[in-house]
């Protein structure tokens, strides 16, 4: 037991904060992620995370809370995606790419200002890859609020969102405003992405969003069950990742391995395992 849990694991404040924020991000991302995977909007989810990093960079520059920076930029990007959003999937991907490119260009500029004017050289790495053990505890209430808002919004539009995601034509016939639902989904997506961008970094937040949901959808056909499974997988990988990263201080003489690495690796391994499980459970599709 003491081999697995290094001394001080349960009493360390950074670990507790990381577990709280990371767990919250995992739950919210898993719920939204299932819809995102069903809708085939992985790219939009990834793009929002990347673009929100411009907000992270801006917050360093302006000296405001990084949370506000990430959130503001993600919501702006969601609006831009919806404005550009054309009907065909290919055009949608293209528009997403253009918004993403412009947003990243902005990030480059803001990070450049960060480095030249505020001489915060670590900004690029911490904005992009996150530093989970360095989250200030004061961020926890705001994070919890954002997560709750995202979950409530999803709960409110659960049925129409599911219908619109599975069969947009049918949803329209039933009187669902597909466009409005799409916009709301993007909004919720930007909230979820902000949460995980704060915890495991803008680039890797795609991992929490897509990984658990994709794995869960391979195991479960019913959406409700898939959401529960995705939450479980997300929480397991975040918890395991934090534990392994904490332990890793002992492996390479006082130099910890990054949490993000462990979380992503665990998610990928679980995904591969679900592939084997679903393959043995039913015959491979012809």
């Amino acid at each position: 037991m003491s081999l697995l849990f290094q001394p001080g694991f349960f009493t360390s404040d950074p670990v507790r904060t990381a577990a709280l924020v990371g767990g919250g991000a995992a739950i919210v991302s898993a719920v939204i992620g299932v819809f995102t995977v069903i809708r085939g909007q992985s790219f939009a989810g990834h793009a929002l995370a990347d673009v929100s990093s411009a907000g992270g960079a801006a917050s360093f520059l302006l000296g405001i809370s990084p949370m506000l920076g990430f959130l503001g930029m993600a919501v702006l990007a969601a609006g831009a995606l919806e404005l550009f959003g054309l009907r065909a999937t290919r055009e949608r991907d293209l528009a997403t790419g253009i918004v993403l490119g412009a947003g990243l260009g902005l990030t480059a500029l803001l990070l450049y200002f960060d480095v030249t004017q505020r001489s915060t050289t670590g900004a690029a790495i911490s904005v992009m890859f996150g530093s989970m053990f360095a989250i200030p505890p004061t961020l926890v209430p705001l994070t919890a609020l954002t997560g709750l808002a995202a979950l409530c919004l999803t709960g409110l539009i659960y049925r129409p969102l599911l219908l619109a995601s599975l069969d947009a034509g049918l949803a329209e016939v039933q009187g669902v405003n597909v466009r409005l639902i799409g916009l709301l989904h993007l909004l919720v997506l930007s909230l979820a992405v902000t949460l995980s961008a704060m915890t495991i970094g803008a680039i890797l937040s795609t991992a929490l969003l897509i990984g658990p949901a994709a794995a869960a959808l391979r195991l479960a056909r019913r959406p409700g069950l898939a959401i529960l499974l995705a939450i479980a997988i997300g929480l397991a990988s975040v918890g395991g990742g934090i534990l392994l990263a904490y332990d890793s201080y002992g492996w390479t003489l006082g130099h910890g391995w990054p949490v993000s690495f462990f979380i992503v690796t665990l998610i990928f391994l679980i995904y591969l395992a679900t592939g084997l499980a679903s393959r043995s459970a039913r015959p491979a599709p012809a």
Binding site: S42, I203, I210, F261, V264
Partner: protein, 283 residues
Amino acid sequence: MFSSFMVNAWLAGTLVALAAGVTGLFVVIRGNTFAAHALPLGTFPGAAAATFLGIDQLVGLVACAALGVIGISQLSRRQRSDVATALTLITLLGLGTLFLSLSSRYSQAVYALLFGDILAINNSELIPVAIISAAVIILTALFFRPLLLTSVSPDIAAATGVSNRLMELLFLSILALATAMSLPVVGALLVFSLMVGPASAARLITDRPLPAVCLSVAISLATIWSAIALSYVTNWPIGFFVGTLAAVCYCASQGFTRRKQGQGASPPGPPPKAEPLETGPGL
């Protein structure tokens, strides 16, 4: 602006723009935008790994790009391609964070690799860039017709005996090569801006393949040249100008086609409801 230390920047930028313009058009036609974004971003850990292992940077980049191609094409056998791309990307990036943290004195290099540092190109790096750029263009020229056919109509391609799967793999490989070579120049995050922006503009302006390729290359050259010049004048990072100019290209061509459609025959049936909204993002 054309002083000796800028010569390599202009040469490298031109080579990168040539390759990006050619491959970009196929990215746009095939709707492979996500892969075109994921490959460069997933390739950049290769540089970190190369530094950590002490091997040549380009070798690390090419190896990592190859991993990305294998990952995307293998995973997309049993999964939708956007999910497969996302999973490949996050796994490579996860490895990247590990290598970054193990070789800790790397912060400035990360910024250069993500956002580009065109002044860092030296003479010995220029030769491999030229070779790979030529390889990318020759490969695309050789397989121009089958690539185009599988992009535009996979069904007809299959009926005429062209393997869609093989072409997808070939195309991803070309993309990976173009990526690995442009990465140190324009940076992982903006290689794909240079591919997608000019090409989408070119495709909206003309429907014929060959003029579209030429136009795409021309716009891509114009983009990188203006970006280098602006970056030289303002001292701001080149990536910012590449990203912004690509978005401007796209918006301008959207406006252009809308005017063209407006002048042409009136569209059949009632106009779509969302029309007033859509004029917003134009110029």
